[in-house]
Amino acid sequence: MVDEKNLKTIIENILNEMTAGNVDVTNDVQSAVAVKAAETVSQSKIEDGCIPDITEVDIKKQFLVPHAEDPEGYQKMKQYTPARLGLWRAGTRYKTQSTLRFRADHAAAQDAVFSYVDEALVKEMNFVAVETLCRDKDEYVTRPDLGRQFSPEMCEKIKENTTHGAKIQVVVGDGLSSAAIGANIKEIIPSIKQGLKMFNLDFDSVVFVKHARVPSMDKIGELTDADVVCLLIGERPGLVTAESMSAYIAYRPTVDMPEARRTVISNIHSGGTPAVEAGAYIAELIKNMLDKKKSGIDLKEAE
């Protein structure tokens, strides 16, 4: 908080600048503030323009080194990495735009963890909405064990709203990035569905899990008795993207099964594998699991 004395000085300075010293502000700051404030409000013009979104800049193409020996060569190398290279400096620090961009990306990553998937989206997609034992995000972050368990009521809800013993059960979980679900889920679900059609396969109602950890799929596997459970879940966000999603897929998962039994497809986002293409690939993977009755390392070894 800015203390009162500081505030007074700031206001004085501002008013001095605005009035170019015509008004003796030091004598009666209070009234001057009131008058001037009213004036500023009435005088201020609202423009239609907007400040450019710094996160729109493609870092891979941003190159700020002045008088570089071989700028094309540097930029070519930059094409292979999303790392923040060639952004130059101001003294010993980053330039303002680089600093702001870093903070913006970091904020997006934090937001992705601490925000929730839009309820309207869950409704629109007709998901069966359930949640784990975590009561809020803080508990979700600090208690991974609770993020894989459901209350008896929730178990009941899952059972009632899914087809028992289905070949495929699709689950969506917020995980560590709600933004990832928001960005990808609408594209990937129909893509998986259509891909499965090619093999005469299909899936029924999709379960949505709030405060989900990956092993929550194991419990759902047991509850639904599905052959293959496919969990689409937000990945821990980084500074490159906050919208990366993973698919964890397992053949007949059970609670406390070894992690090696999961097959994972990561990096599903606009800069990685496009959601639509990933969905098409996942469909084929599921079909393969159903044929071989295996998943994870076991499936790799069977190939």
Binding site: Q194, G272, P274, E277
Partner: protein, 476 residues
């Protein structure tokens, strides 16, 4: 996990035939937790055959049986079984590049050596293959330098210009080492190619068929040939014969060309001094080589060492023709391999709008390829979108199926080549719209343009990718 693929390249040229065996290393570069990304990670030539004269029967027809014997003998020498070969390209160049020859060679070698991709190369494709075989594309990529490769053979000089590893232009001139043949012992001229004869006549030179000749007497025509080569890369005053000597087209002039490399038989003859017997090969190759060694070509351009010289074309054919498709694709196996299909590429502007609008565009363009009721198969090329929505994919699939209705009525397989990574989803969408079990291929990550022809081989790397040969014929 690297998969090794044995690839064969066979070059049937106007004068010589040769073969190389290469190992291509196919690797999944993606981490274990992502969708595979399969690339050709390395190429190694493991066997170079003898070089023999191309067996030609009357009327420029290749003696296919003799080719088969040659290939068989070389496999034996290399110690490999024909079954080991998974990929390959037969490049038929020069005057032997004819349809009858291609089908004859294909049938003679079919079942004999894996799944051959036979290509009858026009001068443009030959230039590219030779340039890649010589290593000019890699040099231009690593050093970020524009490099032109001159593949100077017996009958023609094939030019390919590379910038940052990409071919940007090609050209071809009727200049080569065997355009005048000289009997080594008697020094008598036994052959003069028609175009060279014309230049000799126009210049009033005393070079005559069936008459003995000398280095001095041939110098004026050699100098003219060198001058024409200088012209071809934009050096010197343009000769009055420049347009005349061009086979089909020259490089566009006025381009920035920094480096130059030489391949082909004459590349081995480039030396400042002539050897003791300048006619030991029975032709003017050594003289031409000496001429080049003293020309502005080597003085004004940075000369780049070639990886291959006389074998550039065959090495290019064996190692540099095939690329692999993207790793998420859809196809029905029964229709593979596919050969010599022309590309119908939609303009970017045609890929916008409703599926009906796009379908109309596809139908219109399809018309261009249907000449006088003669039906022509095509492969549809698209740019696609970088991160498409499911609806976009669906709309595109509908447009394709509607637009290619004539093909579907004829039960012709659909071949779709999309540049962006979306072929699996697009393929599955198309599949859902096609009649049951309808044959099709939908692949991505291969760049094609109008005027290209493609060959698609049998799947490799456990069925994840398809080898593709794009025969580029046109440059913008």
């Amino acid at each position: 996990m690297t998969e090794k693929i044995l690839s064969v390249g066979i070059d049937l040229g106007t004068s010589t035939t040769q073969l190389v065996l290469s190992e291509l290393f196919i690797e999944n570069m993606a981490s274990a937790f992502s969708i595979p990304r399969i690339v050709i990670s390395d190429k190694k030539v493991i066997y170079r055959s003898d070089i023999r004269f191309t067996p030609i029967l009357a009327d420029n027809l290749i003696d296919a049986d003799a080719i088969k014997d040659f290939v068989e003998a070389q496999y034996l020498k290399a110690g490999i079984q024909k079954e080991d070969i998974q990929m390959g390209a037969v490049i038929i160049t020069g005057e032997t590049a004819r349809k009858e020859n291609a089908s004859k060679v294909l049938s003679a070698l079919s079942g004999f050596a894996g799944d051959f991709v036979v290509a009858t190369a026009g001068p443009d494709l030959e230039s590219i293959i030779a340039g890649k075989g010589a290593g000019a594309h890699l040099y231009s990529k690593e050093k970020r330098l524009s490099v032109v490769n001159l593949d100077i053979g017996g009958g023609t000089t094939n030019l390919a210009l590379f910038e940052e590893g990409e071919v940007v232009d090609t050209g071809c001139l009727d200049i080569g080492g065997r355009l005048i043949k000289v009997e080594p012992k008697t020094k008598k001229i036994t052959y003069i190619a028609p175009k060279i004869q014309e230049i000799i006549n126009k210049k009033g030179l005393a070079i005559q068929l069936n008459q003995p000749t000398s280095v001095e007497q041939l110098q004026p025509i050699i100098q003219e040939m060198v001058h024409l080569l200088e012209n071809s890369v934009g050096l010197g005053m343009q000769s009055q014969f420049y347009q005349y000597i061009i086979t089909n087209k020259g490089l566009r002039l006025g381009q920035c060309i920094k480096g130059i490399s030489f391949s082909g038989g004459v590349a081995d003859c480039i030396a400042k001094e002539l050897p003791e017997d300048p006619f030991k090969y029975g032709d003017i190759g050594l003289l031409l080589g000496q001429g080049i060694a003293h020309s502005r070509l080597v003085m004004e351009k940075e000369v780049i060492p070639s990886v291959e010289t006389i074998r550039a074309t065959v090495v290019g054919a064996g190692s540099h023709t095939a690329e692999v498709s993207g790793s998420t694709i859809t196809y029905t196996k029964a229709i593979l391999p596919i050969q010599n299909i022309p590309i119908l590429k939609l303009a970017k502007a045609d890929e916008i709008g409703t599926s009906d609008e796009m379908a109309t565009k596809i139908r219109e363009k399809l018309q261009w390829y249907q000449l006088e009721n003669e039906f022509q198969k095509i492969a549809l090329g698209l740019s696609g979108e970088k991160n498409p929505s499911f609806q976009t994919v669906l709309t595109l699939a509908e447009a394709i199926v509607k637009g290619l209705e004539t093909l579907i009525q004829r039960k012709e397989p659909l071949i779709i080549m999309v540049q962006e990574d979306m072929a699996k989803a697009l393929g599955q969408s198309i599949h859902s719209l096609l009649p049951k079990d309808y044959p099709f291929v939908c692949l991505d990550s291969v760049r094609v343009e109008n005027g290209d022809y493609i060959d698609i081989g049998n799947p490799i790397a456990g069925g994840t990718v398809l080898p593709v040969v794009v025969k580029t014929l046109v440059f913008n």
